[in-house]
Every structure is written in C-alpha cells, then in structure tokens.
Amino acid sequence: MSGTDVAGSAALATRGRGNPESEAAAPAEGTEVMTYREALRLALREEMTRDERVFVMGEEVGVFDGAYKVTAGLMDEFGEDRVRDTPIAEEGFVGAGVGAAMLGERPVVEIMTINFLLVAMDQVINHAAKIGAMFGGEVRCPLVIRTPNGAGNQLTAQHSQSFDGWFAGTPGLKVVSPATPADAKGLLKAAIRDDDPVLVIENLPIYKQRGEVPLDPDYVTPIGLAQVLREGSDVTLVTHSYATVRALATAERLQADHGVSAEVVDLRSLRPLDVETVAASVAKTNHAVCVEEGWPSYGVTAELAARIQHACFDDLDAPVERVGMAEVPLPYAKNLELRAMPNDERIAGAVLATLGLARKDR
C-alpha cells in the first residue's frame, strides 16, 4: 500500500502556473522546481509554521512518513502532537477533525486514498458540510481533508476510484483538485486558510510530477478560479486533476498530428466551479470535450456538459463530448486496466469526433 507510485505517467507540465518555458530553462525567479508531493509538503510546513492551530492527522502520516510520503519528515520537525498517527478508523478521526475544527483548530486530515473516505462519508457529508448552515452560522468548521483519487498501477476495483463529483455536489463543502505542483501548494494553503471545510483531492499518478513552485510563503491559489493552461482555438478541453496532465499531452499530439489547436482549461476547483472561465473558452472554440479520471455517467463531466450546453448553447458547433473511465469496476489485469482508463487516444478521438474529423461511431 505504501509508496507505490504509478509508473509511466511520462509527460508533464513543468509549466506550473502556466509558464510556457521549456523544461530545460532555469526556474522562474522566486520559484523552485519540485514534485507535486514536495509542493504539498512545503505547503504543510509553511502553514504549520505560520499557524500553531494547524495540525496533521491520519494513518501513517508520522512514523511511516506517509503512505505516499507527502508528510515525510514532518513528525520529526513538528512532533507527535502536530503530526498525529491514528488507528485505522477513518470515521473516528475525520469526525475528530470536525470537532477540533469547531473549536478553532485547523486540522488537516489525510485519508490514504479517496476510496477509504467511503467509511467516513457520514462525517464528511452529514456533519462537516452541514455545520455552517444547520447551526445558523453560530459555529464554523475549518477542516481540511486531503486525499488522492485516481487509478493506474493495477490497484483494482476497490482502490482505483474518483468520487470527486459526490463531494462537489454537496452544498456546504468546497472541493479543490490541483493538477500542477504550483497549485498543489497554492490550493492546499488556500484550503488551510479557508474558514469552511475543504476537500483537497490529490492524485496518485501526479505525486511525482515536477514543476515550478513559487517559494513565497503567502502564495495561495484562489479557490473557485480555473486556469487556462494552454491556449487554443479549435476545441476546449475541460479537465481537473490527472486528466489535466493527459489533456496537455493530448493537445500537443493533436497539434502535431492533426493541426488541431486545443485549449486546456484546468478547473482547479470543483466547488465552487468556475463556469465563467470554461464558458469564455468554449465561446471562442465552439467545441468542448470534458475529461475526468472517474466514471463519466453522473460524474464531474456530466455537470460540465450540463453547464456548457446551457451557458454556450448558441456557441456550440457540436455536442459536448465526455471522456472518462470505462464504466466498470476497474479490473486488475494490465491490459484490461489500460483499456478501461481514459487515455490520450480516447481524448483525441473525442476531439476529432466533435470537430467532425472522425467517424462519430463510438
């Protein structure tokens, strides 16, 4: 379970905050190239240094250095009280985070992967998300939950899921999902500083991706703001999390192989959702393909398509396309897994179909 990273997620945007420099160039002033994992750790260290109330809690975050090593070294630096190993009891310690937050602490709860959040669902949805409104604003719950979604590496049906849309559809929560190291830092910090419960959805394959990360300890990425990571004129790829990485790679390939100019909008936040930026892009390109790592039916791309068709009805030259995980519990065998997961080919296929450059037969 520990430290396994998904192999082979080759291409990556070092572009961080959208800087188009080549990978070879020196990092921009005030930034450093680091992994997504390191950027998260930097955010935690900075916020723990800044604010005594911030503490980290979860399975294996301390002695073990974190199942995916995000919290490595933090227990040595901040002690057992502020980097708190827990028993395997997600419902219990997520709830403990809720309670601590109600008393003004700033707990950052790590859930090893989003799959295990299912056992704590009641605390997230029926407790954390309800507090502000249900108690008439009398008490707040500044809780952060961090957890990776995603598949790959043959983790099979129970360990390869992305429930992003369930949380994004829950009023009372905020949900962010960084796709770059810079945003990993910026959004985690924004989440910690926010006075509401925020779910930070990380991603297994991205942990080792590298990119420029601003070193300014007050660098935060605003919640609710999407970002155009690549400009284009023919089609808009609307993505978050690892789908953003895929989309950037596919966009290059579409340009090279088909002369198609794809714009990539990285959502960064799922709730609030920045429909404005998405709609502006689609108004320009007249075509949209939404991509997610999870199952598309009733998923994130459903909401995206619903919003886009409404906001851009007169702009669209073709229906909004969606690409995601095949709608099966993810099988173990490598060939089946590869077949089931969204990939560049399938994204490109959807783009070409929506542009009328390929058969619509899918």
């Binding site: 028993p87 009891a89 809720v98 601590a100 604003g137 009398e138 009372g172 905020k174 609710g224 609030p272």
Partner: protein
C-alpha cells in the same frame, strides 16, 4: 502462549452510598427539571397545533439524568448530544425563549430557525449541538476533547448518546481514540431501555452497556439515572477525573422515556401501557419533590417553583410566536464563511433554474 492477565477495567461495582446534594442545589436542579418537563409538554402541544414541525424527540422521564449531568459541568466544559436535546439546552442555561423560538423556526431561535428540535446549540454556553445521525456526534465530541488538549485547556466534554447508539461503529472508533489519546471526555449513555421500538437486549449482545468501556481499558459505570443525587455525584467524579487526569469514561444512566420515540410515535407497539404507568410511579420529579420536602421545602414553595416553570414556558411561547420568521432572502446564510460569495461568483453561468436567487444572492458567505 496463554493469554496474560491484565488488571481488570475499573468499574463501579458498588460504590456504596452516594453523597447527598445540598438542599439549595437540589432545589435549583428541581427548577430545571420541572422547567424541562413543562417545556416539553408544551412543545408536544405546539407540535400538534402545527406550530412546530420535523422530528421532535421528548425526554420526559429522563430529567434527573439530563439535569444531574449538566449541573456537574463547569462553565467552560463542553456538551454535545444527540437529537433529544431540549432538556440539555435548558439545563445548560440556554433560555427557553431561544429554544422555543428554534422549535418554531424563528430568527431568534438559538440556530436562527435553521436547525429545529434536533439541532439546538448554544456555543456561548459550550453546547455544541444537537445532532441527528445516531452516534454521529461521538467522533465530533472526541474532536472537541482533542482540541481542548491541544489548546492546553483544563476542561472536559460530555457527549450524550442513547442505548441504541452503542451498536454503531462510530461508538467503537470514538472510544478507542479517546482512550488511546487520553482525552478528557465522558460518554453519557442514556439508557432509556429502547432505541425507537427496539429494547436494549434485542440490540446489544452485551446489554450492560457500561461494560463495553473495558474494550478500551476505559472506566465504565452504571448509575440509576432517575436518582438525581447519584447521577450528579457520578458525573461530577468522572468529569473531575477527565479534567485532572485526562481519563475518559463511560457513564450509563438507567432511565425511561414516557413519550414515544418522537412526537409522531404513540410509543405502544413495543411496550405496554402498564410498563409506562409503572415507571411513571417512580417519576424522578416526584422523587426529587419528596426529597425537597424532606429538606424542609414547603408545598407552597414547591408549587411556586412549578408555577414559575409554567410562566417561563408561557413566556417562551409568546416570545417564539412574536419572533420573526427567517428572511427567505437569506436562504444560504451561515452555509459559508465570509468571503465565500466571491469564490462562488464565477459559478453562475449555466446554473440550474432558480439557483442564482436561491443561493448566490441569498446570503452566501458575503
């Protein structure tokens, strides 16, 4: 490797006679008990007159437990309960006005009409709700206790739950965390013999619920929940230990609810009228009244206390009736912290029909 022996978990097998409450204290507590009874009787009437809605769970019969435990709290201690919460709020010092206005769904309610009967709270008095999911409040209360420790505060938490709640996984996870981390918390199991229509022995393989504390090497004990002095003594002692030694505990209080599970339940499908009548003979209010008489309080004085409770509840109803309904233009009020409206501003395009007025322009953390 035969199992090694450990010292048995401490239990109060028989702690001998209980220290008596001082007469003045007992009188004060009686005032709160009768207030709670009158308040809830009135709440049921108002419910039936359709001025109160939703689920409404009464605690008539359980007042000695509620009031005895809450009185053992220090001003800075914290309280968390399930949905059977009116009495707890009143005992903690929340005004009957604020509670009744909440039941009426009015702006002056303690949750500004947003929570209703199940979600009473009073942060100023350390009452952190009022929760509706069985056992869901336990992890939350455990987190409050953790925060007290982190903040170096010498206070403790009481977390109320029912006999039915002890079979939920959240009980197990919370008690383990509390014991492992040595948190200052007392889990008050209000054993009123039933969870809805299910008796304790049909729900729990260990029907002596206090014994379950031993699975966490935690202290557990059982008390007659209708004996105000005994409840108070036990709660006081366990809270003291929680504050001073950070030792969590389970206190199981044996009591009975007279009314149905909620106002909508006649409460007779699973028990007999006789059973209820028999228990009402041992009404904790009558018991305390008699003790007060023995303390030398006159019948006139007692009647005056009762009359005062009637008056306070009447005033609460008048207050609640006069309180304004919440402003529908503030539908989203409280949901998000200040500054959130800006974060949500870019979500407007393509919104579902009506959403703009209902959420974005309705007090969304602006």
């Amino acid at each position: 490797m035969p199992a090694t022996a450990t010292k048995p978990t401490a239990t109060r097998e028989d702690a001998g006679p209980v220290a008596k409450l001082a007469p003045d204290t007992r009188r004060e507590l009686y005032e709160t008990m009768i207030l709670s009874r009158v308040f809830e009787t009135e709440a049921e009437r108002q419910y039936k007159a359709a001025r109160i809605g939703g689920y409404c769970h009464l605690s008539s019969g359980q007042e000695a437990t509620t009031v005895g435990v809450v009185d053992a709290l220090q001003p800075d201690d914290l309280l968390v309960t399930g949905y059977r919460s009116h009495g707890f709020a009143l005992a903690r010092g929340t005004s009957p006005e604020a509670v009744m206005a909440e039941l009426f769904g009015r702006e002056d309610g303690c949750a500004h009409g947003r929570g209703g009967s199940m979600h009473i709270l009073d942060v100023a008095n350390g009452y952190y709700g009022g929760w509706g999911i069985v056992a869901g409040q336990l992890p939350v209360a455990t987190g409050l206790a953790l925060a007290l420790v982190r903040q170096g505060k010498p206070h403790a938490v009481v977390c109320e739950l029912g006999d039915g709640a002890v079979n939920m996984g959240a009980w197990h996870e919370s008690l383990n965390l509390a014991a492992l981390w040595k948190l200052p918390i007392v889990f008050l199991v209000v054993n009123n013999e039933y969870g809805m229509g299910t008796s304790v022995s049909r729900a729990s393989a260990e029907p002596e619920l206090w014994r379950r504390a031993s699975a966490y090497r935690m202290h557990g004990e059982r008390v007659d929940g209708d004996d105000l002095d005994a409840v108070h003594e036990a709660a006081d002692r366990l809270l003291r230990a929680a504050r001073e030694d950070r030792t969590p505990a389970v206190l199981e209080a044996m009591t009975y609810r007279y009314r149905g599970h909620s106002v909508a339940d006649a409460g007779l499908a699973y028990r007999t009228k006789n059973e209820i009548a028999e228990r009402q003979q041992r009404d904790p209010l009558v018991r305390v009244r008699e003790q007060l008489r023995a303390d030398g309080v006159s019948d006139e004085e007692l009647d005056a206390i009762d009359a005062r409770a009637d008056e306070r509840v009447e005033a609460a109803v008048a207050f609640a009736s006069a309180s304004a309904e919440p402003d529908v233009a503030q539908l989203a009020a409280g949901m998000h912290a200040a500054g959130s409206a800006e974060q949500f501003a870019r979500m407007r395009p393509g919104s579902p029909f009506g959403e703009l007025a209902l959420t974005f322009d309705a007090g969304l953390g602006s």
